[in-house]
């Protein structure tokens, strides 16, 4: 237990250092001590001695953006790890149930069609879309029989349907400029992050972490399938419903704020598993911490590599993620012999 606490503390320390360092990187020359003094002044009320512009860059731009990157990375990796175990599918990720496609449709309906007359934000539209697609998926999988493979297939169906709706709306109604904006959002971007996004996503992450960690042993029991889990005392239907809903809610919140950032939820759980072994008591915190640190650095790369232009963070996660994924697959290929 103490060893587990030590590992978690070490992970949190690495994460805090990554956030502090990542904030200093960028065109405006800001040091780690500046970051600390800005944070301290906003929390404690003392003056920083920094110019308001530099204070604003740290407090209103880079800090919320970096924190949102950490929260998104943690949440996506957590959801991916849970999905892979629950659905017994190494290719599962947080988007496998169509949540992100629904979010895209919702966002596009608000941005392109002007639904809500400006009263609805893109995030609100995306969240509503995500919830709709998840509900459609649940209904479909229930009608089709409710087994694990039916859940996956229903997710694929929902994903295809909502992707098609998104493309339809964009192609028929959007001008070139809006299309570009939507495309950027679909690929995932932390550019517009504000404190509201950070708090909402952090609350969703806290809920998701608490529920998923509480179900750690239940997820262990799924190793040999749902019947085996049932004979180990797991209420399979209830556990699956709770975990699907919580991860879908968390994914919807993250996607609404930052778009569908791919690959974190697929690759990080595999990497964490290689590090911690299959027990979810250790795997889930490791995946969440790993995902947080990973996305903080990937986003830093995304906003600096061709500055002042920005690469969508989802593009960078994939560019970094694909080689990592191939490595993970190569490793499992050897151990399966």
């Amino acid at each position: 237990m103490t060893a587990a606490l030590l590992r978690t503390a070490a992970g949190l320390a690495v994460l805090a250092a990554s956030v502090a360092l990542a904030i200093t990187i960028g065109p405006a020359d800001i040091g780690v001590t500046d970051v600390w003094s800005v944070v301290a002044s906003h929390l404690g009320g003392d003056a920083t001695g920094l110019s308001p512009i530099r204070d604003g860059i740290v407090w209103n731009l880079r800090l919320p953006r970096t924190l949102l990157a950490a929260v998104c990375g943690a949440g996506l990796a957590l959801c991916g790890a849970v999905m892979q175990s629950l659905l017994r599918n190494p290719l599962a990720d947080p988007f496998v149930l169509g949540v992100s496609s629904g979010a895209s449709t919702g966002a596009v309906v608000v941005v392109v069609l002007g639904f809500g007359g400006g009263a609805l934000s893109v995030s609100a539209g995306a969240f509503a879309g995500a919830v709709c697609s998840f509900a459609a998926m649940l209904l479909l999988s229930h009608v089709l029989g409710g087994t694990t493979d039916r859940v996956v297939l229903s997710g694929v169906a929902a994903m295809q349907l909502f992707s098609a709706l998104t493309s339809f709306v964009v192609v028929t109604s959007a001008d070139a400029e809006t299309t570009r904006g939507v495309l950027f959002w679909l690929l995932g971007s932390l550019g517009g992050a504000g404190w509201t996004d950070v708090w909402l996503c952090l609350a969703a992450l806290a809920l998701g972490l608490a529920v998923c960690l509480g179900h750690g042993r239940t997820l262990d029991a799924f190793a040999f399938g749902q019947d085996a889990a049932a004979t180990l005392g797991v209420d399979v239907a209830r556990a699956r419903a709770v975990l699907l809903c919580v991860t879908a809610l968390l994914t919807a919140a993250l996607v609404s704020s930052a778009g569908a950032i791919g690959f974190v939820g697929l690759v990080l759980p595999h990497a964490a598993r290689a590090l911690t072994g299959p027990g979810h008591g250790r795997l889930l915190p490791a995946a969440a911490l790993g995902g947080a640190v990973f996305l903080v650095w990937v986003d830093t790369l995304a906003r600096t590599v061709i500055a002042p232009q920005e690469v969508p963070v989802g593009v960078v996660t994939s560019l970094v993620g694909v080689p990592a994924f191939v490595l993970v697959l190569y490793r499992t290929r050897r151990t399966r012999r």
């Binding site: 237990m1 587990a4 175990s85 017994r88 190494p90 960690l213 509480g214 179900h215 750690g216 042993r217 239940t218 262990d220 029991a221 190793a223 040999f224 399938g225 019947d227 085996a228 049932a230 004979t231 180990l232 005392g233 797991v234 209420d235 598993r273 072994g277 299959p278 027990g279 499992t332 151990t335 399966r336």
Partner: protein, 259 residues
Amino acid sequence: MTLAADRVTRTAGSTPLLDGVSITPPPGAMTGLLGPNGSGKSTLLRLLCGVTAPAAGAVTLDGRPLDQLRRRDVARRVAVVEQQADTLVELTVADVVRLGRIPHRRAWAPPAEPDDRAVRDALERTGLADRADRPWHTLSGGERQRAQIARALAQEPRELLLDEPTNHLDIQHQHDLLHLVRTLPVTSVVALHDLNLAAMYCDHVVVLRRGRVVAAGTPGEVLTEALIADVYGVRAVVTDPDTDGRPHIRVVGTLSRGH
């Protein structure tokens, strides 16, 4: 009175899988569940462990209906070994056996001394103590089934249900496994295809056909030439070579082909 099924019925659509089946496995003994494919052996085992519920009738544990007990409490009493278990997760043998402690542990609590002891005992009893750190994927079929039995033992059950556990094993491992089950201090119910294995190891056998019990008793009483012809449609010569009530069955041909 331990685990019992009382006139249980289960259907798939309009096809009856089980039709009013009652069994009361004798406590501490090994009961063989026999019958051709589709006779309802697996369905009955799934009802007995509570994974599925009967459409009519009741499965009881110490007289209490299974559906009134918490799943976790059932899992502390009744353990199940499937005919072939597989996983994509990279587990070691010890990891697999530790799964058996899940019904005994509370959420958030770390493993305690009784958990470690149960896992150690289970590994020793199944002869896997020296292979505890081996990856599951490198095990042979026989070792995998032993690991599953060790996992079931770690649940510290009083009832052990096994669904055709010898199906994918060679002859030596079939006998090893059934000998192991026979020596365990549990009430066991084993679905089997091989009549000679059932005759050798089981204290009690129940024969199913099309979802109904057609015979129950000791192997010597039940496994007669007439019953085998009737249930399996084969001509068999049954002898009792050791005159110990454990018959030997030699199949000499099918009935339908007119031999």
